[in-house]
Amino acid sequence: MITLGLEEKNTFLEAINKKSGANVLNCYQCGKCASTCPVSDYMDFRPREIMQMIKLGMKEETYMSNSMWFCLTCAACSGRCPREIDIPAVMEAIRHLVIEENYRSTSKKVKDIRKFHEIFLEMIKRYGRNYELRMMAEFNIRTRNFFKDMNLAPKALLKGKIPLGHESTKSAKAIRKMFELAGKLEKRK
């Protein structure tokens, strides 16, 4: 059971709205997002429910859910939302706030997804673009699942889907600089 009316203000809603640039209050709970979302069946709260939870100020439940981590940011939901809410931006805002406020899920799946994001960003930072082979190796090692998808590796290698070395890019330097600047901006906050 949830008790409402104890807080002076719904600060959670305000934070989400500010961070995402969307207005969750526009949601009228039609559920088109939930039925559009390709992964909503895997979420413990579907996008519509997340919207209502934000409206009710249910911060803990929202942060500890897996919904925003499962979100693929495919934007099918916002493309079809009759109230034009940028739902992927809301999901992104939740992910940011979870990291900023240092919430940690106990779910293995969520932990793995978070690791995946971290490794991906490391790859970009280091090489300027994704280095698939290393990314896969790192992910398997860090998630202690060494042989995950290994059976696919020979075929993919033969077909040239996974280059052995990392591809160089001219703008690697610029990208590294972007990371540095972003880091500085983050600190300034």
């Binding site: 949830i2 008790t3 409402l4 009316g5 002076e8 526009n26 709970q29 519509r48 429910e49 009710l56």
Partner: protein, 657 residues
């Protein structure tokens, strides 16, 4: 020798799919009197009607049978086709082979076909005995009576009067204005209710064609459409309006305090009072139930302070009569008493109020000067819970219908609360949000987004007290969890009910009402402003819950109907009415008892030709009779016949099957 023409309609596929029309035609042609029989896809269309017109002339028909849909649908259409061809329109018979055959026997085509043939045979037999009938003309008294001075009555009266038709507007309370005068702002535009209503009230008072009789009620209505006679009781106001200037000295000095109905009993008024400052007429009346002078013969202060000597304690109720041609009923609505919601603690917890009480509180001329206050401690509330569908859509509490306006006024209250108390938060428990109207959905969305109100989908299960707060418990179906709201104030959106006097008034006027006490319209879709009684019309919530725009539209529609009725000096009426054969009438007068329209009166006629002795017979008033046939059925001496349904016609029909 009769020459009957039979025209069988396919009604698209409605009839043809289940009734074998060619076979029916074949059967029909076997009847001796049928000289012409033909089928067509849509008999009611122009080519279909032309077939009838041509056949009447070419085949020299003496009567016509159309086998099609219900006569309620197209009898008038086909009658007109007959008269266009120079034939008396009442020589038409309609065999209803759609509602009575094809639609109800869809599973058995043979039975449907046989029944259609039977129905046609009956209609043919009846039509042979049809007589030429002619429309009846009745004179019209061009004055309308409008009952109720709310926005519906005001609008109807103004529109009728603008057509230069005199109107008598009666209102049971001391001032016109009704419920709308109690509202602060109106959805969806939030314009001030008083500002848009009071000019209309003043127009009513000053209109040369409107006679305004406040503080009065109808006590009798006799007569028939175009020629009604109404008795109106003017309740004693104990104030001589022609002397009174409305200065207000009397109510300032009056020592008796009475709960103020205008403010939903939140504050007190005096025993001599005007309901609200903008009242029309702006003259006080004395509340006889509370005035100590009238009850005990002591006091009389108002009379002493009145410089004009307008107070008259000896004034009596007065009965006046008006001859009128039409009536508009606009008695408005009452609000449902939420007492049965015991699980909410209604009556036990002071901080549970109704929406109209909230409306009065936030109203600029309200008891708290525009601020909502907790009745328990007079504090301004922070968390306000609004609960919709109180009584409405709750069969266990007695009302099945939706009150239609609660979704909208609750959204308005959410906005008003936000305007008046900036740091407040509204929680709304709703079942659905029904915002069907121009600008309504947009208004609800704006209310929700701008005020950040929390809308929770579910009915509240219970309310309990925790300290000085009320804990409101319900489920939010959107997240599938039970929620509790800590509330300072709870506002119940109570259902609209019919005025409790409606059934009595309906019986007095001779119109019908539904199980809730709302006046019944003649047809739910196609005749929504007329009652089943000719010349009596409905405007506003007296018929069903509705909002202001709908009420005004219906009131104007009533005015159009009244103007239409009064367009000529006489009115045309169907000739299918009863007639008494005085030779057979025994004077038992049973027919008077059964007539639902009071159309039958006693008459004294000579015993025989030239005789001086008199005997009693019954007489039917042509203008009032609606042709229901009750008198025909009760008449022991078979003295009454109903034109269009005479004994030979009915017997012919029976013999035919």
């Amino acid at each position: 020798m009769a020459r009957v023409g039979v025209f069988v309609c396919f009604c698209g596929a409605n009839i043809a799919d289940f009734v074998d029309v060619p076979k029916v035609i074949e059967e029909t042609k076997k009847i001796r009197e049928v000289k012409y029989a033909i089928e067509y896809k849509y008999m009611c269309s122009d080519p279909g009607q032309q077939m009838i017109r041509d056949a009447i002339v070419q085949q020299k028909l003496t009567s016509v049978v159309v086998a099609a849909c219900s006569p309620r649908m197209h009898e008038k259409t086909f009658r007109k086709a007959l008269s266009d061809a120079g034939m008396n329109p009442y020589l038409l018979e309609v065999a209803n082979i759609r509602e009575h055959s094809s639609w109800v026997h869809q599973k058995d085509k043979k039975a449907a076909t046989d029944k259609a043939a039977d129905l046609i045979r009956m209609a043919v037999a009846k039509s042979i005995a049809n007589e030429q009938l002619h429309e009846i003309s009745v004179p019209v008294t061009k004055r309308a009576l409008v009952i109720g001075g709310g926005i519906a009555g005001i609008q109807a009266a103004l529109d009728i009067a603008d057509a230069r038709i005199p109107v008598t507007l009666i209102e049971k309370s001391p001032s016109i204005g009704g419920r709308m005068a109690q509202l602060d702002e109106t959805f969806p535009t939030l314009d001030c209710s008083q500002c848009i209503l009071t000019p209309k009230m003043v127009d009513v008072a000053s209109h040369p064609y409107i006679e305004l009789i406040p503080y009065s009620e109808v006590i009798e209505l006799t007569g028939y459409v175009g020629n009604y006679k109404a008795k109106i009781r003017k309740k004693a106001s104990y104030v001589n309006f022609s002397n009174c200037t409305g200065c207000g000295a009397c109510w300032l000095k009056c020592p008796v305090k009475v709960p103020n109905e205008y403010n939903m009993n939140i504050d007190k008024r005096k025993a001599i009072y005007t309901p609200f400052p903008q009242a029309v007429p702006n003259k006080p009346v004395i509340d006889a139930e509370h005035c100590t002078m009238l009850l005990k013969g002591k006091c009389g202060i108002c009379a002493k302070v009145c410089e004009k000597g307008a107070i008259d304690f000896k004034m009596q109720d007065e009965v006046i009569e008006r001859e009128i041609g039409a009536v508009v009923i606009a008695t408005g609505y009452d609000l449902w008493d939420p007492k049965p919601y015991e699980e909410y603690g209604v009556g036990r917890f002071k901080d549970i109020i109704t929406s109209l009480e909230f409306e009065r509180m936030v109203s600029a001329n309200g008891p708290s000067g525009g601020l909502p206050l907790r009745p328990s401690d007079g504090k301004v509330p922070k968390n306000v819970v609004f609960i919709k569908c109180i009584g409405s859509r709750d069969e266990s509490k007695g009302i099945e219908y939706c009150s239609k306006i609660c979704c909208m006024y609750t959204a308005k209250h959410v906005v008003l609360l936000h305007h008046k108390v900036h740091d407040s938060h509204a929680y709304v428990f709703y079942m659905d949000i029904r915002a069907a109207g121009k600008g309504y959905e947009e208004f609800v969305k704006k209310a929700q987004v701008d005020t950040a109100a929390t809308y929770l989908r579910g009915r509240v299960s219970k309310i309990y007290k925790k300290g000085d707060k009320l804990m409101v418990r319900g489920e939010d179906a959107q997240i599938g969890q039970v929620v509790e709201v800590e509330a300072d104030l709870v506002v119940l959106a109570t259902a609209i009910t019919a005025p409790k006097d409606n059934p009595a008034l309906a019986r007095l006027l001779g119109v019908s009402y539904d199980k809730y006490g709302f006046m019944s319209e003649a047809h739910p879709k196609l005749r929504p402003v007329e009652t089943a009684k000719a010349g009596i019309f409905l405007a506003g919530c007296t018929q069903a819950p509705k909002d202001i725009p709908d009420t005004v539209a219906q009131a104007s529609a009533c005015a159009a109907k009244v103007c239409g009725l009064f367009a000529g000096d006489t009115m045309k009426k169907d000739p299918m009415i009863s007639k008494v054969n005085t030779e057979f009438c025994s004077g038992c007068l049973n027919c008077i008892q059964v007539c639902p329209y009071q159309a039958i009166v006693e008459e004294e006629i000579p015993m025989g030709h030239g005789s001086k002795e008199m005997r009693t017979v019954s007489k039917i008033n042509e203008g009032v009779c609606q042709g229901c046939g009750s008198c025909v059925a009760i008449c022991r001496s078979m003295a009454i016949s109903l034109a269009g349904f005479t004994d030979p016609q009915i017997i012919n029909e029976i013999v035919a099957i």
